[in-house]
């Protein structure tokens, strides 16, 4: 019953909370740059506008691939919030991402294809850490199941601080933040126009945006997973931790410039090895 409720809550609330967080993000970013920034509810206005626009398309399949992307992200998130296997959830997440890459390549346009290629490199960059992180949870708590992980007497983060650092690093990729916003970006005047979303317009882009909100909540959900344990107050810590991580991501976004793919791949793999690999090694040795 609780599970059904939490999945339903996720499916309904995630886009709303995601949009709200996006609004906060834009205001904080603006303030960091000395601007006033848009209203808090701006993402909602944007979404409403996108869905009211004319349906312009370059082919007939992009919309359905985008819808599949949304669907699988929602499924991946639902699995996390239902307390299912975290490894499976991460696999579904990468499947979802693959649908987005396919949606972009289906245009066969220069900018979207460029974005799709970079998105693939991004997937390659973050994938090792997500897998290792699942292993880390297994080593720290003895289970891959989210339902079991949050019932532990102590928070998982005590055993796996390295993974949290690594996860913070790759979350910048998933939230499409600088320095890793290679495939598409929130900012204007790009060398690759809008990357993977170049040919997405109106409702198609709206769907993609909603999917991104699901993804954002999923990522924050995993952050929360690091902190949750059997105590009720761990939920408060987890929410605070999510907000702190989110703020740090915004800060990082604003103080760094975009890097080249080699640097992204190298740094992500290096950080994964240093944080995740080392942490996993230590956990294995003391087990």
């Amino acid at each position: 019953m609780m599970r059904v409720l939490s999945v339903l809550l996720f499916l309904v609330l995630a886009p709303l909370v995601g949009a709200l967080l996006d609004g906060i993000d834009r205001i904080i970013s603006a303030r960091m740059q000395g601007r006033q920034g848009p209203p808090l509810l701006q993402p909602f206005y944007d979404l409403a506008k996108l869905f009211s626009k004319q349906m312009v398309a370059v082919n007939s399949v992009q919309m359905l691939l985008n819808l599949s992307y949304l669907f699988f992200l929602a499924v991946a998130g639902a699995m996390l919030f239902a307390g299912a296997d975290i490894l499976m959830c991460l696999f579904i997440l990468s499947t979802a991402d693959m649908f987005l890459v396919m949606a972009a390549s289906s245009d066969s346009s220069p900018f979207a294809t460029l974005g799709a290629g970079r998105e693939m490199i991004q997937m390659m960059a973050y994938e090792p850490l997500t897998l290792l992180m699942a292993v880390g949870f297994y080593l720290a708590t003895g289970s891959f199941h989210v339902g079991d992980i949050i019932q532990m007497p102590h928070s998982a983060v005590l055993a796996m601080p390295g993974f949290l650092v690594g996860f913070f690093f790759i979350t910048a990729i998933k939230l499409r933040k600088s320095p890793f916003d290679l495939s598409t970006s929130h900012h204007a005047h790009q060398e690759m126009v809008k990357g993977i979303t170049t040919e997405m317009s109106g409702p198609t882009l709206g769907i993609m945006t909603v999917a991104e909100y699901y993804e954002m909540i999923l990522m924050l959900g995993i952050v929360a997973l690091f902190f949750l344990d059997a105590h009720w107050w761990s939920w408060i810590i987890a929410i605070v931790a999510c907000l702190v991580i989110f703020f740090l991501e915004i800060l990082w976004d604003n103080v760094s410039a975009r890097v080249k793919w080699e640097q992204m791949l190298g740094s992500c793999w290096g950080v994964t090895l240093l944080t995740g690999g080392l942490n996993a090694l230590i956990l294995m040795l003391i087990r």
């Binding site: 848009p38 206005y45 204007a188």
Partner: protein, 149 residues
């Protein structure tokens, strides 16, 4: 202002301008003027834009480009001609290669004069364009409805 006009995204195109107006357009995004206050984003992608901000008197070479990116923008959309060259062709009007004003190529909704146009007047022009956008939106919604019925 209705809710829908709160999210106008811009596409800025330089149709053989001297770059004076373009600098001023970029100026609008700086902290001093901060057009994001109105929810305005400079997208740089016709597929996602609502407002085409165009500078310079269109020349023979970029005429087809202007037409094409205009056609790629989804309805409802408005065009703002920024600077005197975009409005009428300006001092370049009689050049052999200048068409003379954006409205010789695509329909223009708002004219923002000036050489170069000041950021304040550009923002003013965009806000004017929002009203027209809203009207077009209502008309578009009506046409969609009548299409369905």
């Amino acid at each position: 202002m209705a809710k829908l006009a709160k999210s106008p995204w811009l596409l800025h195109y330089d149709a053989s301008s001297c770059n004076g107006c373009d600098i001023e357009v970029l100026d609008c995004t700086t902290p001093r003027f901060d057009i994001e206050r109105f929810g305005i984003i400079n997208t740089g992608d016709p597929f996602q834009a609502d407002i085409l901000l165009i500078t310079g008197g269109v020349n023979a070479q970029c005429e087809s480009v202007v037409k094409q990116i205009y056609s790629q923008m989804p309805d409802p959309k408005v065009v703002v001609a920024v600077g005197i060259c975009a409005c009428t062709g300006g001092v370049f009007k009689d050049c052999y290669n200048i068409k003379g004003g954006v409205d010789t190529v695509i329909p223009v909704d708002v004219y923002v004069p000036g050489c170069a146009a000041r950021p304040q007047s550009i923002i003013d022009g965009v806000v004017k364009a929002l009203e027209i956008l809203q009207q077009k939106r209502d008309a578009f919604a009506r046409s969609q409805k009548s299409d369905k019925s």
